[in-house]
Structure formats: structure tokens, C-alpha cells
């Protein structure tokens, strides 16, 4: 592990992501905790045939402008760009919201594969990957489409399904502050999937509002220990 993890900018941070990579993207939905500058850099970099693991599929440029004056950027851009072959997440598209998002449109056209995962199961499968476990039994999804093709087991009279770990080649996450070693703290509800994904990827890249020196973060409040972080980019807000 290199001790110097700080890179100059987002373009440099994502430069070596190859076609066909599996990428986890932190955050929750379109706001708060999404590593948007890394996402835009990945869009510009242009890697294709990607598998994305993220909670939500985003709405993209066109739809965001219909929802909100001025619109906003989210990971929908990667679908609009045609960079993604498969999406794994809990909310590919929001049911209540016409018109369809880029991901939904591609899926309707048969151009993208979706693996639907309940949100808590998604978090736990990622944690399972980061923590070296082989899988876990959850009651969530039993008796629904989620159980299809999965091993079922009755434990203590209750029905569970076996869920397997998720891993990635890269994780793109967002934190509030990092020290140069890679210790991270988050802000408010922008924490969400970011600390969970750190560690489940071979290379974890974090975008932070502010970079500080080791010792400037209280050791009691560090949320993500530095062993989980490989590259840090400061993007002042």
C-alpha cells in the first residue's frame, strides 16, 4: 500500500479504470454523498462495458431538468453515455417518476442488465465482501422475486435466503474530510453507502471536501480507517 495516496485531480484518480471494470459508487440517491466529480471524470474518461454497483440508478441530465430548474448531475450520466453493461442496486428507477431515466430506458430497450437487490441486503452484501465472509442468511426477500435461484434455509423456525458477497475493482466514494493517510469523516446523511463500500473494492478512490494532515482528525471520530482508502482527491466544495 503506497503511503502517498493523494492524487492531483479526479481525472488522474480514475485514469486507469479499464473497460469491463466493476465499480461501486457511494452515496444514496441523487444528493448528499454522491462522488459527483469522480463520476463526471469517469464519464469523460469513457471506460465502457462497466458493471455499476450503487443504491440508485440516478435520473440523468434530461430528467433532472424536468424535475428541478437547472437540473443536477448524478450517476445517470454514465448510462446516458452508454458506458454501463450491468447495474446492481436497490432502485434502478423511481416508480413514481415519468419520463423514464436513462437506465430505465436502456433496460426497456434490452441494452442493460439489472440485478435488483433490497437496500439492506445490498449494504450487507458489500460489507460481507469487505469483511472476508462467504455469505449470509437474511429473512429479507423470502417469498418474493428476490429469492429466485437462491438457497433457502429454515433457521430456528424462520425462513431465510442465502445472499453472497459483492466485490468491485474500484469504489468511488465521497467523504467530508480526509487526512493524507486516508482516514475519513463524513457529513450528516452524506455518509450512507460510502463507508460500506470502502474496502470492498481492490482500489478505493475518495473525493473529499478538504484534506488535512494526520493528527488533525480526532481518532475517536474517524469513520473509515485509512486501510480502506487507496487514492484521495480534494475537491473543495
Amino acid at each position: 500500500m503506497p503511503v502517498n495516496k493523494v492524487v492531483n485531480n479526479c481525472d488522474e484518480a480514475v485514469a486507469d479504470i479499464p473497460d469491463g471494470a466493476t465499480i461501486m459508487i457511494g452515496g444514496f440517491g441523487s444528493f448528499g454523498g454522491l462522488p459527483i466529480n469522480l463520476i463526471v471524470a469517469l464519464a469523460n474518461q469513457g471506460a465502457r462495458n462497466l458493471t455499476l454497483i450503487a443504491n440508485m440508478g440516478g435520473v440523468g441530465f434530461e430528467l433532472s431538468h424536468r424535475i428541478k430548474p437547472g437540473g443536477y448531475q448524478d450517476l445517470g450520466i454514465l448510462f446516458e453515455n452508454g458506458q454501463v453493461a450491468k447495474f446492481i442496486g436497490s432502485v434502478p428507477a423511481l416508480g413514481g417518476m415519468p419520463p423514464t431515466s436513462p437506465l430505465e430506458r436502456l433496460h426497456n430497450e434490452g441494452k442493460i442488465e439489472i440485478e435488483m437487490v433490497p437496500q439492506g441486503t445490498l449494504a450487507e452484501r458489500i460489507r460481507c465482501g469487505a469483511g472476508g465472509l462467504g455469505g449470509f442468511y437474511t429473512p429479507v426477500g423470502a417469498g418474493t422475486v428476490i429469492e429466485k435461484g437462491k438457497e433457502k434455509k429454515v433457521i430456528d423456525g424462520k425462513e431465510y435466503i442465502l445472499e453472497l458477497p459483492l466485490y468491485a475493482d474500484f469504489a468511488l466514494i465521497k467523504a467530508h474530510h480526509a487526512d493524507t493517510l486516508g482516514n475519513l469523516v463524513y457529513k450528516g446523511t452524506a455518509r450512507c453507502f460510502n463507508p460500506v463500500m470502502a474496502g470492498a473494492a481492490r482500489i478505493t478512490i475518495v473525493e473529499v471536501d478538504k484534506l488535512v494532515e494526520p493528527g488533525q482528525l480526532d481518532p475517536e471520530v474517524v469513520v473509515t480507517p485509512h486501510v480502506y482508502v487507496d487514492r484521495i482527491v480534494e475537491v473543495p466544495g
Binding site: F28, Q119, G120, V145, I146, R191, C192
Partner: protein, 220 residues
């Protein structure tokens, strides 16, 4: 005159179920409105699955902070004793039975309490979010929804025809027309909207209702 509860009033009625000291999660859409209707004198701790416990009401425009939102992307206000955590911790809390009440929207509920609240025919890419986890994990599941579809078809059915969120999980249904409890004996009609009769509610319901001995007008 037959009245129907509007969304705000359905949320107000649902919030009446929040016991003092309870931990409550509010689902996407109408349930989120409940945050503004906690009964006076009761302390409720709102949990949102994106990783927050103990927030206050929805934020007004001037207070909006997108690093302080609920799972429906709505900015919320801070309260003393609030805390933040990550998604894995959040769903441990939910699956582990540490959320007392969840209020969820629904497309359909069956007479056994099966819930269908995420997938619709013709929209295969829409997802369940945290709904399955919440429906399985919360001690009490309250559904708020309109009693029928726009076309007048019942949403309360013998069997759900839409994809399930979880089996036998719903405890209470609150609609624009009625409050219905799901019991071992079946669907018990407890409260009805002003101007409606039990047979009229039965007529727009796709499963058999048992009228409660103390059937009354919806209490607000």
C-alpha cells in the same frame, strides 16, 4: 356527503399511531408527511434508512441542506440527540427489530397482510429500495394509501397481483376511506370516513371486511 381524507389527513391519522418514545421510519411519498404530525406530548424518534436517527420535521425552503435529508431526498431539521450512521448500520437497526413502526405506501395489500409496494406491470426497472427490509424488520407496519386505484379498482385484495415486498407483514392500513386492522381472523374495519357506511367500504374492497364492534368515524 361522503368525504375522503386528503394525503395530509391520512398522514395525520397515521401519526396518531406513534406511541411515546417510539422509533419510526417513514417510507417514500405520503408517509414522509407524518413527520409534521407527531401528536403533542409524544416524543418520536424518526429513523431514515439513509442513516439518520432522531430528526425533526421536514425543512422549510430556507433551512434546506442536502447533507441532512431523509430517504425520500427531503431535507429535514435537526433535533438534539440526533445521530448519523452508515447504510449497513442502518439496516442492522431495521432488520434487528430496533425500529418500532414503519409507515409505507402500497400498491396493494392482501387480506393476510402481504404487501406489494414497489413493482408495477410495465415498469420492470423500478426497485424496492429499503421497503423489503423495513417491511420484514419493523415491529409494526402501517400502510398509507388511497383505497382504490385511479380507475376505482380495489387495492385491498385477497391476494396481491403485483410483486410482493414481503409476506404477512402489514398490521394496519390507513386509506382515504378507512382504517383497517389485519388480524388473525382477517381484515377488521375499525374506522370509516365521514359519510360512508361499512357496506360502501366493502364494495370498494377486494377482500372480506369484518366490522369492528366499536366501528367509528376516523379519529383525528
Amino acid at each position: 356527503m361522503k368525504s375522503r381524507l386528503d394525503e395530509q389527513t391520512i398522514a395525520l391519522r397515521a401519526a396518531g399511531e406513534f406511541t411515546d418514545g417510539s422509533v419510526v421510519n417513514l417510507g417514500y411519498g405520503m408517509p414522509g408527511l407524518c413527520a409534521n404530525f407527531v401528536p403533542e406530548g409524544r416524543t418520536v424518534f424518526f429513523q431514515s434508512e439513509n442513516g439518520i436517527l432522531g430528526y425533526g420535521s421536514l425543512a422549510t425552503d430556507t433551512e434546506k441542506d442536502y447533507e441532512m435529508i431523509n430517504a425520500s431526498d427531503q431535507p429535514v431539521t435537526a433535533l438534539p440527540g440526533m445521530c448519523f450512521f452508515d447504510s449497513a448500520v442502518s439496516f442492522d437497526m431495521i432488520r434487528g427489530g430496533h425500529v418500532d413502526i414503519v409507515v409505507l405506501g402500497a400498491y396493494q395489500v392482501s387480506e393476510k397482510g402481504d404487501l406489494a409496494n414497489w413493482g408495477r406491470p410495465g415498469r420492470p426497472a423500478t426497485g424496492m429500495g429499503g421497503g423489503m427490509d423495513l417491511a420484514v424488520g419493523a415491529s409494526k407496519v402501517i400502510v398509507t394509501m388511497l383505497h382504490t386505484t385511479k380507475e376505482g379498482e380495489p387495492r385491498i385484495l385477497r391476494e396481491c397481483t403485483f410483486p410482493l415486498t414481503a409476506r404477512q407483514c402489514v398490521d394496519l392500513i390507513i386509506t382515504d376511506l378507512a382504517v383497517i386492522e389485519i388480524t388473525r381472523d382477517g381484515l377488521v374495519l375499525r374506522e370509516i370516513a365521514l359519510g360512508w357506511t361499512a357496506p360502501e367500504i366493502q364494495a370498494v374492497t377486494g377482500a372480506e371486511l369484518i366490522s369492528a364492534a366499536d366501528l367509528k368515524e376516523i379519529e383525528l
